[in-house]
Symmetry: C2
């Protein structure tokens, strides 16, 4: 029987596995259910012949490291067994932890992000063994339980167990299938520096008539912010672009081939043009290869709409998130921000670091990259949409750089209406079965490549 | 007996009147008590021989117009019978509407702002009649009941009854006695334009990774704001200063003589220097004669301190109050702000007018001005501190310009620790009695001046 036939004939069995995994509410505030989910994964992989162990870190749910297969060459497979909260639960059509199939999709919290990928990959091991026999490469499943709360211990876990995590490539969760049915394959993620700017410049709030002689902390903040970014999106922090690596010919060729529906995106945003007025290839270049400096929030003084209290506020707060591209370093960027402010007379504004992730971009030409791309053929009806990076952020850096290997997010179970992080999360049955088949495909393809 | 002796021998009687007036909770949300307070004022003035009438306006508490005295020359006396709310009432040592004397001061809501002035002036009529006989000028008491909620109907009332309000000068509430015991005499007030800037630039909040291509309404607002004001306080709105009248020699001479404790003010604000680095006469000039552009509030996006939600907010709101000086017109200034924003590509930011008051500055050399100044002599131990304007705002313009007369805020019952608009409002008994005596003084002084 072909791989496809085995997957299809076992469809109910593998959907049953996914139902089981999605029936356990592995929420951050339910440690017993987190542990039960970890045990379920361990049991499933163990029963297929994997050696399983726990990677422990103080205060964090155990991560799992489950190894299966033979030979010298290794693939690290990163997934997570925890899920997002379910609120607002009243907006769910069916219970988030009682998986239900409707109109060809299975609805449950975590079914798309990312239990669907994880269980499809486990199912693929069984299919592989049935169709081909023993795995010709070693797969190391690294499954953590803290992803949805920010992977707070992940870097420390990776550092502690780095010797056990070496591999020739990493499969990172899953990307998705886009609105046109193209499988998405992605080779990294932007980084992040999240800071809070705080300026308390007066002892107390003042009657606003005093603003004629009393320095305004709000104006001081506005003036400082205005030095950080030009209207065309260019970040003006001194040295901000020093370590930005321009996309090469290879990346630009990827972008050329990548679909981007500008009209639909403008419509969705409700605007007439994009930042800097970009279109076409230049817009795609900006999308993937430009860092940002975004104001996520700002607040000072009296903010009730329509009312007219006159006050000179004593303090102001601004929250800024900067998405970073290779090879920017979030700690270096924050140091540069501090120096920039200091140099312009805004050294009295405190810069508090709230979050930092390094950007990651791997080559599509690594063995694991080529395998993820090649395996699309024959499984999906369309050629893959290949993106150099996610424009969002994930904790890939410890794997890609601390351990050191190329990383790829291969096509996964999500589709544009999967409602990740939202009510009625779902994955389509067809996508789930296809990812099982696709997983067998990239294992084969990787095994067939040169080391 | 001298005026002073009559005041002192009737001290208990006049303190009793003040207690009566302050026992009625004339709060905006207590229409019956507002009416009772109006009736009390009417009754008191009526019993001294005033002709009383009601100035009605739809939806507003009645204003009173009570006329007493003889002769051709007239003084309009503006006071109000309503008071500020009492919250937080738990911070009051005694009940806000059970006036209590402690350590030489009488504590009650409204006792300083401005029932103390009002009742002292009524008491002065009785003293005048007893010591001198009939008043040689006509006093028109204009007492409104909506001042503490913004005098929303005052302009319309003044317009409707303008023919009945004509006078040769207006006594406007009362200034105070400063920390060094100097009586304050003030000849006007700054104006105000209060606007709300609103910009909704995206259909919905976006994941902040989209900020790389999606225009940010918050940055757009920050950029617009940054065009409005320089760090030295100068307002950059095109044409903002067109109608600003520079202080003349007379005003600068007033400022030279005016005390200003820079060190105490810096200490109170908790700053090292004033806006623009000004000191001395230039600081006083700025204080009284510079308009402002103050951000009373700003808000957008996610504002929880210490947390790091990444969002591109769909909208931003800023509240701006501009204190204006003669001869700026609030409506003209707002029109200029709109034109300024439009000209720089910020025409998509809505400018909503929430409040407008014209500035007023009268000459200290009018008959009423000279009377208010001359009468200080012999009543207060120190020479008056004469200010060209309050740096705050009041609804003087309809009187000063629509009816048309010079306006002065003479020394009144407040002192620096009167806690106006705050718990434990009080006026010192000595200040109250002095204002009775001082009122007789400016009536005499006005009667003695040439028309």
């Amino acid at each position: 029987m072909s791989v496809r036939d085995v997957v299809r004939s076992n469809a109910d069995r593998y959907l049953g596995w996914l139902r089981e995994a999605c029936s356990i509410p592995s929420l951050a505030d339910r440690p017993d259910d987190l542990a039960a989910t970890a045990a379920w994964v361990e049991d499933k992989l163990g029963s297929l012949g994997a050696e399983t162990r726990r990677l422990t870190y103080e205060g964090a749910p155990d991560a799992l490291l489950c190894e299966i297969g033979e030979g010298e060459r290794r693939i690290l497979v990163y997934d997570h067994y925890d899920v997002q909260p379910v609120d607002p639960v009243e907006l769910w059509t069916s219970d988030p932890f009682s998986p239900e199939i409707r109109d060809g999709a299975i609805y449950a919290r975590g079914v798309a992000d990312n239990k669907g990928d994880l269980v499809a990959r486990i199912a693929a091991l069984e299919v592989y063994q049935e169709v081909r026999g023993a795995l010709p490469v070693r797969l190391k499943f690294l499954v953590e339980g803290e992803e949805e709360t920010g992977s707070g211990s992940f870097e420390q876990i990776v550092t502690r167990y780095a010797d056990d995590l070496h591999a020739e490539g990493c499969i990172w969760e899953g990307a998705g299938v886009d609105h046109a049915g193209r499988p998405e394959v992605v080779f990294g993620a932007k980084g992040l520096a999240y800071v809070e700017l705080v300026h308390r410049g007066l002892k107390d709030d003042q009657h606003s008539s005093r603003a004629v002689i009393a320095p305004s902390p709000v104006w001081h903040m506005i003036e400082a912010l205005a030095t950080l970014r030009a209207p065309d999106g260019k970040v003006l922090i001194d040295g901000f672009y020093d370590d930005v690596r321009a996309p090469g010919e290879r990346e630009m060729a990827l972008l050329e081939a990548l679909p981007f529906d500008e009209r639909a995106e403008l419509e969705r945003l409700g605007v007439d043009s994009f930042v800097g007025g970009d279109t076409g290839l230049e817009l795609k270049r900006r999308y993937y290869f430009e860092p940002t400096c975004n104001i996520a929030g700002i607040v000072a003084g009296y903010t009730v709409p329509g009312a007219s209290k006159t006050v000179l506020p004593k303090e102001a707060l601004a929250k800024i998130d900067m998405r970073l591209v290779p090879d920017q370093d979030p700690h270096d960027v924050v140091a540069k921000l501090r120096t920039h402010l200091q140099a312009r007379g805004y050294g009295d504004i405190a810069v508090n670091l709230l979050g930092a992730e390094h950007p990651v971009m791997s080559s599509p030409d690594s063995a694991i990259g080529r395998a993820a791309l090649a395996a699309c053929d024959g499984v999906f009806e369309q050629a893959p949409a290949v993106a150099p990076m996610m424009i969002g952020t994930g904790p890939m850096y410890p794997i890609a750089h601390t351990v050191g290997m190329p990383v790829v997010s291969p096509a996964g179970v999500t589709h544009p209406a999967s409602n990740i992080h939202a009510p009625n999360e779902n994955c389509r049955v067809e996508d789930y079965l296809r990812v099982i088949e696709y997983t067998v495909g990239w294992i084969d393809a990787f095994a067939a490549t040169e080391a």
